[in-house]
């Protein structure tokens, strides 16, 4: 028995030190942990939204409805896969595959803990956005190949939104890249992992970092098509948008990709502004780094659920106006402020100056947005 265990131990050791073993050791946890998190999140989201809307949420499958994700998975697996007669079959099939592929690809560069990052690329942030942009193609493929007005409308909405919000998203991420002087996500976290006294060097604790984090979160909400930016799916108007013509497991794949995308973009936000896996206080560094990462991730997910339960959906013209007339100038100014911050000596003057400029620009842009009537009630010529 003990000889067998010894052999097994030696075999595992040899496997772990080989290249294939290394890849398995790094990749398999990503493929297991994040889908598991997806299952948990669907339950938490439905429970949380239920509480916000003064009802119970799922409570029939298992104790407190805990087995609901299982029931959902079995339902998705056993449902009939219906493909519309007029659909472009090949493209219709490829769309969910490409969607899930790109959703998983981005996790390659996310540093989950001190040692766990699948591919520590030098241009990690760029890889993240490049792999994420494949999702837009997948959305377009899904919407177009279904040959349905609803799905095409949803795809066009999704693309207009994703392209518009990608600019503020990338620009607000660039601020952290600029401060760290590197596109590598591992390096960006390492820059924030030090402490002054008990306080960490997270970028979110500076005026430009806080503004950048908020801007990033807004753009990230839009980029992952979540409420209040969920026009591409708008259940009450275009039913489910670009994936209306998908059923069974293909639908589940879209659902999975959407949540994986949300986790990934939260992970990027954590990496860029919240210090990645580093502990919030110097005396808490004894807790394993991956626990901190997942704690921050769960906190951000809770925030996303809260926002979804609180804010109503925007209108299309409001959405576009908000991106181009408010977020874009604000992120450009914010980029400038972060550059100024880098070249000024440390002190209260730098802190107050940068925060003042950001607040002033925020106030001016907000006033302009309000006065231009972009958010006011709209009169329709052909409806009502």
């Amino acid at each position: 028995m003990s000889i067998f265990m010894l052999h097994l131990h030696a075999w595992i050791h040899a496997l772990a030190s080989s290249a294939l073993g290394h890849a398995l050791w790094m990749v398999v946890p990503v493929l297991v942990v994040f889908p598991a998190l997806f299952a948990v999140t669907t339950l938490l989201e439905r429970k949380g939204l239920g509480r916000i809307q003064n009802r119970y949420g799922p409570n029939r499958a298992g104790p407190w409805g805990l087995l609901q994700p299982m029931a959902d998975a079995i339902k998705a697996l056993t449902k009939e896969d219906v493909v519309p007669e007029a659909a472009d079959r090949l493209v219709h099939f490829c769309a969910p595959v490409l969607m899930v592929l790109s959703a998983f690809l981005v996790y390659a560069v996310v540093p989950v803990s001190r040692t766990w990052v699948v591919a520590p690329l030098r241009a990690g942030v760029l890889f993240f956005f490049a792999a994420g942009s494949l999702m837009e193609i997948a959305v377009f493929m899904a919407g177009w190949s279904s040959r349905s007005q609803y799905s095409l409308l949803g795809a066009m909405r999704a693309l207009a939104q994703m392209i518009s919000y990608e600019i503020p998203l990338v620009l607000s991420a660039m601020v952290a890249v600029m401060a760290a002087g590197s596109l590598s996500m591992v390096e960006i976290v390492r820059r924030q992992a030090g402490y002054s006294g008990i306080w960490p060097h997270w970028f979110v604790l500076t005026p430009w970092g806080l503004a950048g984090f908020v801007l990033f979160l807004i753009a990230a909400t839009a980029e992952s098509n979540r409420s209040p930016f969920d026009l591409p799916e708008g259940e009450s108007e275009i039913i489910a948008g670009y994936y209306i013509e998908y059923s069974g497991f293909k639908f589940a794949l879209f659902f999975l990709a959407e949540y994986l995308g949300m986790f990934a973009i939260s992970a990027l936000g954590i990496t860029l502004f919240l210090g990645g896996w580093s502990a919030p206080f110097a005396f808490l560094t004894w807790i394993p780094s991956w626990i901190w990462f997942f704690a921050k991730l769960l906190a951000l997910i809770a925030g996303f659920i809260w926002i979804r339960g609180t804010l109503p959906r925007l209108r299309m013209d409001q959405l576009m106006r908000f991106a181009w007339e408010f977020l874009l100038p604000l992120t450009l100014c914010h980029l400038f402020v972060a550059g100024v911050w880098k070249f000024f000596p440390t002190g209260a003057a730098r802190w107050l100056g940068c925060a003042g400029v950001l607040l002033a620009v925020y106030w001016l842009l907000g006033r302009r947005l309000e006065q231009s009537g972009g958010l006011a009630r709209r009169t329709y010529h052909f409806a009502e």
């Binding site: 493209v91 690329l121 030098r122 241009a123 760029l126 890889f127 956005f129 490049a130 792999a131 942009s133 494949l134 837009e136 193609i137 377009f140 493929m141 177009w144 095409l152 066009m156 693309l159 392209i163 990608e166 596109l183």
Partner: protein, 166 residues
């Protein structure tokens, strides 16, 4: 010339060919995306991480989507029965041969002036940024000006349409 190179090159050429031959314009755009991806893989193999990823981000992401947008917003192109590549074979072939000959000549000529590469050139973000903002700052500014002019032109065209429509 490894197997990976031929895979990537095959993907690029097949994507470009399909983009030219296919009848459905949306299929052409999707094939073009595959071609862009193959090109990006070649860049990545050459060690140019930034250029390769930017190729995917800008071309496969943004440019292809814009092309798809334009196709969908332009009415009546979906039911075209004739492939795009039948118009004038002779002129097309002559043009293609001319462009290829010029490129081949330029590349063949430039090789003898370049020093033999003994190590991988640094194509990192820092090197590209330094090159763009020091040595090649004037071309960069000119391109920026050109793009701004194109953008203003596009906005003006769109505005005039709207006024006429209302």
């Amino acid at each position: 010339m490894s197997g990976e190179f031929f895979l990537a090159a095959g993907l690029t050429v097949a994507g470009a060919l399909a983009a030219m031959i296919l009848r459905n314009l949306i299929h052409c755009v999707l094939a073009l995306v595959a071609g862009f991806a193959g090109l990006a893989v070649i860049y990545l193999q050459l060690g140019a991480q930034f250029v390769g990823l930017a190729q995917i981000f800008v071309y496969a992401g943004a440019v292809a989507i814009l092309a798809a947008f334009v196709i969908l917003l332009t009415q009546g192109v979906e039911h075209r029965t004739r492939p795009a590549a039948v118009l004038d074979w002779v002129v097309g072939a002559l043009l293609a041969c001319g462009v290829f000959a010029m490129l081949a000549w330029a590349i063949a000529k430039s090789v003898q002036f370049l020093p033999q590469a003994t190590q991988r050139p640094d194509a990192g973000v820092r090197a590209i940024g330094n090159a763009m903002l020091h040595q090649f700052v004037l071309p960069l500014e000119v391109v920026g000006l050109l793009l701004t002019a194109a953008l203003i032109g596009a906005v003006l065209t769109a505005m005039r349409d709207e006024e006429a429509g209302a």
